[in-house]
Symmetry: C2
Amino acid sequence: MIAHIPRLYVPVITPFAADLSVDTARFVAICRRILEDGADGLAVFGTTSEANSLSTAERMSALDALVDAGIDPARLIPGTGCCALPDTVLLTRHATRIGCKGVLMLPPFYYKPLSDDAVFASYAAVIDAVPDMGLYLYHIPQMSGVALSIPMIGRLTDAFPGTVRGLKDSSGKWDNTAEVIAAFPQIETFSASESLLPSNVAAGGAGCISASANVNVSGIMRLIRALGTQEEATALAQVSAVRAACEGLPLIPGIKAIVALRMNDPGYARTRPPLLPLTPDQKVAAERAVALCPPKENAA
Amino acid sequence: MIAHIPRLYVPVITPFAADLSVDTARFVAICRRILEDGADGLAVFGTTSEANSLSTAERMSALDALVDAGIDPARLIPGTGCCALPDTVLLTRHATRIGCKGVLMLPPFYYKPLSDDAVFASYAAVIDAVPDMGLYLYHIPQMSGVALSIPMIGRLTDAFPGTVRGLKDSSGKWDNTAEVIAAFPQIETFSASESLLPSNVAAGGAGCISASANVNVSGIMRLIRALGTQEEATALAQVSAVRAACEGLPLIPGIKAIVALRMNDPGYARTRPPLLPLTPDQKVAAERAVALCPPKENAA
């Protein structure tokens, strides 16, 4: 088993301008802020990023903007998995060409249920088209409707051993994550929730790719440093409180609202349909949640 | 209540070349064949068409090819609903500009569950961008994960009375279709299955948009002509037998295989991942299914 240094990747929100176009300036600003706060890297264009609410052109343009702004592509694992194979190939080829560490790839998520053969064939087709990519599998069956089974993952790691580099388990089911880590020690397995970091790291996992990291990088990095020390329980309690506050709201609009409050810029709060902005009552709850986040990050 | 003349629209399969690019020549050929066989129109780029496995550029190019080949756009209701609002707007604007009768629009289908407010806002945003479209709502919750509720449909028909023209109910739940027809007599409500045509038409519905129509246009048109006559039971038995044969296979690869046999051209059978071609055993079943289809259509 490879010993991993626990890492935090952040599925950064995608800010929108008043006309709901991608707000590249705010996107660059929040990405820089998250890296300055200590995150290891950015898993842009995940579920929290409203990635599937963006066109492929918007995704490539926003990714280019990050690199043009001086962010090291080796710290980027953009999401590239779409319903349509040519879209997934386009985004994966682009991310690979500009030097991204890897891509975090949903399976095609319109047709369901899909057999293991179908999921394997879908990933294999993208790998055939972009053989030099670094592939991180994205397991989020409650949203995609398509689970990545242990046997299917095993077929992929057997067939493409240098290509399959990791997996993000957003199922929330720790037993599944533990099974993936045990079965595939050669890949980096991330949990979605920082609350699972102690279990993830103790089992040999790679760390977390957490939505609530958008508002709590320094808290999660403190937890990572505290793992196995007397500080662990306190650090875990802080990140769990922030996460619970986020999960008490509609998750993505809630996180965007908290980012807006922390950045002191309401422009960060905008969402694209189908996601809706918070109600007035929910905004009050978001204001309370801000108080749980580390003060260090509050100072812009 | 408006009396509708029952109509058949066909969600035409999308043929692929050996390299899995869209095979425009075969697409034009099968669309022409279906219209020659008597269908009222083509609901291209539906679920059966693997529409969500195509890029937006592929969808627009293939639609243009139909019109360039002389097919009347007034007989076309292409699917245009994507996860990303700009993609849906792009496809809807294109279809509207070239004169399509309307568009059959999925709700955005990545995030789930979605509230009625979220679904309403998603459709309203597209209508705001393309106010001159003709909107047919596409209810297929088992695939999209997003149901179109009666209250949500009511809000849309109230807010956009000239724009919302119809609905396709692919839920397979007749009670839901009956409720939609009763609540919204001013729109055209289609069933997905031709087996429900007698119920649909008796209740005031508009007809069907059926996957198995890809291989049984003349049988379904015969049923439509036979409704209320002594021939109805015989015609219904024939279409139900064909439908059952299709449903006994993986539906979309099965229909493509049957089309290939009927067109005497194996090129029609190719699918794009995540859909897989039939197994040898399934191919034998597809050959048996061809015998159930009307001989008239067998003569190319």
